[in-house]
Symmetry: C2
Subunit: 130 residues, 2 copies
DNA sequence: CCTTGACCTGGAGCGCGCTCCAACTCCTAC
DNA sequence: GTAGGAGTTGGAGCGCGCTCCAGGTCAAGG
């Protein structure tokens, strides 16, 4: 698989893929005779998981830590587990926070008239309640 | 209330508060005789709500749009409502995505041995499953 | 052959959302 | 009256995570 294929299948741009390799998030890819990167399917699996970490807001430095542990070998399993457990806790907290915010949003939305956007103006001063 | 009080009570730094005023996210504060900003409690309410919008990932440009509508007056209620409804949908989608990611995380975590981080190494090659 | 286009590298640039700075003014306490 | 601390302004700088660019190499199609 060449980089353009991996890009298409992973959803990351080729620039991002090269960037990820440069910073060590993805192991250095094998090269063909002409120096071009060659990937196998396992990279795709790894990228998909990285994307989950990213989607859940894990900062780059932690993804990098995780990637380095992974590169070190199977014996880093427990450390990686700890990292993921800590991250899971944060994601759970984030979900709880978002759900909390959702009730605030719902309340706020209910406080506004439902009509279409170009209704007659009742007053013309800034609202005091946000 | 002076800016340092508002900062303490809102959780935003004084720099951020001035920045928010500069870009129009917060209406220009009244000034005392010496040119210092003076706030009333309503600003705090507004900031708390802004913080919810921020916490739920609403981008600055949308918060700005919302702030401008608010500044325009009560008759923008329906528009604001639309904005918030759209945002709420995004937050809901985000929560769903996070919950989805959580199950992936859980599965991944279960796949790692539970022992403490300095366990004996079973192999020493990079893991194929991320 | 020669063109085309995908790929390579190192490094610069960017958008976001602040954060910090210099240089100044003003109020308060001693 | 003077030192210190909190406030003011405009503008520069920063960390993150890419994104883009110049200038080159290489392989395949016509």
């Amino acid at each position: 698989m060449k980089i353009s294929d991996l890009a298409r299948r992973s959803g990351f741009s080729t620039d991002t893929l090269r960037y990820y390799e440069k910073i060590g998030l993805v192991p250095r890819a094998a090269r063909d005779a002409g120096g071009r990167r060659v990937y196998d399917a396992s990279t795709l699996t790894w990228l998909a998981f990285l994307d989950r970490l990213r989607a859940t807001g894990m900062p780059m430095r932690d993804r990098l830590t995780y990637a380095r542990l992974r590169a070190k070998g199977d014996h880093t399993g427990p450390e990686r587990r700890q990292l993921l457990e800590a991250h899971r806790d944060e994601v759970r907290a984030r979900v709880a926070q978002l759900q909390d915010c959702l009730t605030v949003l719902d309340t706020k939305i209910d406080s506004y008239p439902k009509g279409k956007a170009n209704d007659p103006a009742p007053t013309d001063r800034p609202t005091d309640t946000p």
